[in-house]
């Protein structure tokens, strides 16, 4: 299985810079997710790995082989498409056998391999059907079988689960992850669903506006987001942001303050060199807070706005009085068993270890 290296890769369509100077690598057998909103360049990058697009500049390597001008059929790759791209005029069997026929395999061998892979994916009863005659979930499995049957060196996924319903998506998520780790095929997986990327990938490349913003393990992306975009994109509900904070020191400790709000910063804040100490954005995740009903130190007063019960969890939407009379909406996961009244006054206690500070102009992470 090859290692993939992407070096200073750019792809322009006319004047549009779809991908702009992106570099990353995928280790042998690794599962990497390219994550970002639509139009961020992740699919363009994937199609370039597949050889369907050629880079405008930069290089793509599989191991030490430069792949820029190698046509797809010599790359030994497979791809699963968002709309599955099953050939509508062929039966399920013919669809899965299609890549094997390109390899000029014998009939018996093709039959054996197709049966093997379809058994594994539990679609061996559908071989005579046309793609139109099976359900979306089954089509998805056929697409997966077609990708796996030729035992490729690299597997590429282009949002393969986004056409499935939520329940099936959760199921296939685990199944694809298991298949990939069993087979050990180097895989690149494009998605706009942060939950998919977090649960499946060993490393995530977060894309925004054609640029690679951050590349790291799910843990790093979640705990140490590089900027506000990554912080807001990962997690559901996303990170809460509050504007206009000042950093002040008091009794040898650092605090973020705004008006009468005062939140203690973690000890590691002392090692940060602050270029600015005013007008900063404070960020904390909904799951890294507690809610108190009585006033405590280092808390943020707020009013309950609306409740979103999820069965196991309860998301409390709170309004915090902002600067200049406008209020900010904050979402917090409440502890189980807590009850709230609308408009009730409560106090948010963020976990100081999990607090972030951002520069609102560059959107870069300070803390």
């Amino acid at each position: 299985m090859p290692e993939i290296r992407v070096v200073n890769f750019s792809k322009h369509f006319g004047k549009v810079r779809a991908v702009d100077n992106v570099s990353f690598d995928v280790k042998d057998g690794e599962f990497v997710a390219l994550l970002g909103p639509s139009g961020c360049g992740k699919t363009t990058t994937l199609l370039t790995l597949a050889g369907i697009y050629k880079p405008t500049s930069g290089e793509i390597y599989f191991d030490d082989q430069l792949m820029n001008n190698v046509p797809p059929k010599y790359r030994n790759i497979s791809m699963v498409f968002q709309n599955y791209a099953l050939y509508p005029h062929m039966t399920v069997f013919e669809n899965i056998a299609f890549p094997l026929k390109a390899k000029k395999m014998s009939k018996e061998e093709i039959e054996k391999k197709v049966l093997e892979v379809t058994k594994k994916l539990m679609i061996d009863k559908l071989l005579d059907r046309k793609p139109m005659q099976i359900s979306g979930g089954q089509q998805q499995r056929v697409a997966l079988a077609r990708a796996l049957v030729k035992e490729p060196a690299v597997l590429l996924f282009d949002e393969p689960l986004s056409n499935l319903d939520a329940k099936l998506r959760m199921m296939m998520r685990a199944e694809i992850k298991k298949l990939q780790s069993d087979l050990g095929i180097t895989s690149v997986y494009v998605t706009h669903d942060q939950a998919e990327a977090m649960t499946m990938a060993s490393r995530i490349a977060v894309f925004s506006m054609g640029k690679l913003v951050q590349y790291g393990t799910p843990d790093e992306i979640y705990n140490e987001p590089k900027n506000m975009f990554v912080a807001a994109f990962i997690g559901n509900p996303p990170m809460n942001f509050m504007e206009n904070f000042k950093v002040q020191s008091k009794d040898g400790e650092l605090f973020a303050t705004r008006g009468d709000i005062m939140v203690k910063l973690p000890p590691k804040a002392k090692e940060v060199k602050f270029e600015k100490t005013e007008g900063l954005v404070l960020g904390f995740r909904p799951e890294h807070c507690k809610i108190a009903k009585k006033e405590v130190e280092n808390s943020i007063p707020a009013n309950v706005y609306v409740l979103e019960p999820l069965g196991r969890d309860l998301i409390v939407n709170l309004k915090v009085k902002g600067v200049g009379g406008e209020s900010e909406l904050i979402k917090i996961f409440a502890e189980p068993g807590m009850n709230f009244e609308i408009e009730e006054k409560v106090y948010i206690i963020p976990d100081p270890e999990k607090l972030h500070l951002f520069d609102p102009e560059t959107e870069e992470t300070i803390l």
């Binding site: 199609l47 597949a50 050889g51 369907i52 046509p71 797809p72 059929k73 790359r75 790759i77 497979s78 791809m79 498409f81 968002q82 709309n83 791209a85 050939y87 509508p88 005029h89 299609f98 890549p99 390109a102 390899k103 139109m132 077609r146 030729k150 590429l156």
Partner: protein
């Protein structure tokens, strides 16, 4: 609440609207239907009274099928000529438009947009205005009074329109299918042949059908560029009957006319399902 009472028209609204629709359709199509009815009746009768009532039935008008007619070429030879033209116009057009349409749909080459516009203008251009120029071209390449001249001429005039139609069919095929084929280990040409062509079959069928019919019914070019009776087609044969040098034999005219449309009707009968697909538009898939 008071009981809701429906009157007669409300209760039977769907039946009534259907009946009205049928009456309207019959009225609209009656001129054509009556025309064909007259054609059929006249071809089997000696004469007609009151315009519509045959006096005596006969097969004499159909004698051209089994005996040589003086002053006319053999009907079967003429029939084969017509079929030959229709067939080759169909083959050439299906072949060229299926490739041209793909290129226009998938490849971004310089001049593509202007070509697309130009094609439509070309189709709007009345071919009759090209007569003199075509005469010279055919004369220079030695295809005057030759069926191949008509075939090439007809095909080249039909190809722009056919290419446009085929482009529409190709546009309906998602790129992902082609990409999947490339990734599955095939070259671009194989992908076109094995994946794309089977999916645009209805489009190819439709262009081929129209090409065949237009070749079958061609008259103006044959009347102008074909001189020898050996190369006559059925349309020219019909014209010959009402020609300038003899009295029109209406019995013969109707019989030949009917003979001329029979293959077309049979043809439509077989290709109906493809025609319906055209009106639905594009490819299912």
């Amino acid at each position: 609440m008071a009981e809701l009472r429906l009157n007669f028209f409300q209760r039977n609204s769907s039946k009534i609207s259907q009946a009205v629709m049928i009456i309207i359709l019959v009225l609209i199509t009656s001129p054509i239907l009556l025309g064909y009815a007259w054609l059929i009746l006249r071809s089997f009768s000696v004469d007609m009274v009151h315009g519509f009532i045959p006096t005596k039935l006969t097969l004499k008008n159909w004698r051209f099928l089994w005996q040589e007619m003086k002053g006319y070429p053999n009907i079967w030879r003429t029939f084969l000529n017509t079929f030959w033209i229709a067939l080759w116009v169909m083959i050439l057009e299906a072949l060229i438009t299926s490739m041209g349409g793909y290129a226009l749909s998938r490849y971004d080459f310089p001049g593509r947009t202007s070509m697309l516009r130009f094609i439509l203008v070309l189709h709007a251009f009345p071919s009759i205005s090209l007569m003199v120029a075509i005469y010279y071209v055919l004369k220079v390449i030695g295809l005057l009074d030759n069926l191949w001249g008509i075939i090439l001429l007809k095909a080249s005039l039909e190809i722009p329109w056919g290419t446009w139609v085929m482009k529409g069919f190709y546009d309906g095929i998602p790129w992902e299918l082609e990409w999947a084929g490339l990734v599955d280990g095939y070259g671009r040409f194989e992908v076109w042949r094995k994946i794309v062509i089977p999916l645009v079959k209805p489009g190819i069928a439709v262009t081929a059908i129209f090409a065949f019919l237009s070749g079958w019914s061609e008259f103006v070019f044959i009347n102008t560029f074909i001189f020898s009776q050996n190369a006559w087609t059925l349309s020219k044969y019909v014209k010959g009957i009402i020609g300038d040098f003899r009295f029109a034999d209406y019995g013969l005219l109707t019989a030949v006319g009917l003979f001329y449309v029979i293959p077309t009707i049979v043809f439509f009968f077989f290709v109906n399902k493809y025609m319906i697909k055209l009106t639905i538009g594009g490819v299912k898939g």
